[in-house]
Symmetry: C2
DNA sequence: TATTGTTATACTCTATAACTATA
DNA sequence: TATAGTTATAGAGTATAACAATA
């Protein structure tokens, strides 16, 4: 009979904390790096009144004018209910509009405003600066390998 | 005078949604890949009653017995208040204990229980299988480059 | 029936301010 | 005063069920 509550031999405070086990896992490195990226991108987008999700949505709408909310949710890989507040926010900022589709009154055609296109251009430029800041030290070959690797991870889930 | 509310020429529903602008950004690929990793790891850890944060905390406590909550929060790169519920959860599961430190009654020495060490071993094995499933197609050289790149991103924030 | 968009809801992760008990 | 841990709270991201309008 084993006493689960018994502790292993206690030690006093270590001075240096080690990562040794976790460091072997790619997911661990991804999480910590992504936290940094997310925080920096949030600061980058703040001047435009955008956050990562509204920025992503705006860019996709500008590149695919007329798409529906279901299509946008699919492209962003998020659930439809969560997209509603994102579209609300972009519409309130007058960067996109929800246009009714005469041939199918169930769906909206999302279209950017002229202001939306302008803000998109500025935000994309800011995003490029942010990427250069964070990923500038990564050479092109590694960068391509990185994108391929990350894409293969995504493909694992799809298949 | 420009009318910000005016939309660009409207189009009807595109059949294929394109990523072209966003695909150029590493952060975009990171986010989408990380979502997949996070979801899969959550499923992987569920049988042990763990989630990503409690798992990470358990592993670090096992590798660094006796460390304080402040040290653990620092190692996990999270705020102290957020660690409290994590330690609560692990203590309720009887995987770690909060031991009082006689020489400084302000702090706790976190120590794993025997059950904690056993669960850690099983969860780490499950994590390894999860990593093999998601990152198996990535060869060793690319993997090393990936870790180095992700570490350099983290270093950008520290410096 | 099935689909689009929506509401309501809940859970997780993150971040800050302010408290307590010890030092 | 300063530090460790805590409480309370708020915001953002994600996920599911159920609804109204339309097809």
């Amino acid at each position: 009979m084993i006493d689960n509550k018994k502790t292993v031999p206690q030690k006093s405070q270590p001075t240096q904390i080690s990562d040794e086990t976790l460091r072997r896992f790619l997911g661990y490195h991804m999480k910590r790096a992504f936290n940094v990226v997310q925080a920096d991108l949030a600061i980058t987008l703040k001047p435009f009144g955008l956050r990562m999700l509204t920025y992503t949505a705006l860019v996709i709408v500008c590149d695919n004018p007329g798409l529906s909310q279901t299509q946008l949710a699919l492209a962003m890989d998020i659930e439809r209910p969560n997209l509603v507040v994102i579209v609300d926010e972009l519409e309130r900022l007058e960067l996109i509009v929800r246009d009714r589709v005469p041939t199918d009154r169930r769906l909206y055609a999302l279209n950017p405003t002229l202001a939306g296109v302008r803000v998109r251009d500025q935000a994309v430029a800011a995003d490029e600066a942010h990427e250069a800041r964070l990923f500038g030290q990564i050479d092109d070959a590694t960068r391509q390998a990185l994108v391929a690797a990350l894409s293969s991870v995504r493909a694992t889930a799809d298949g």
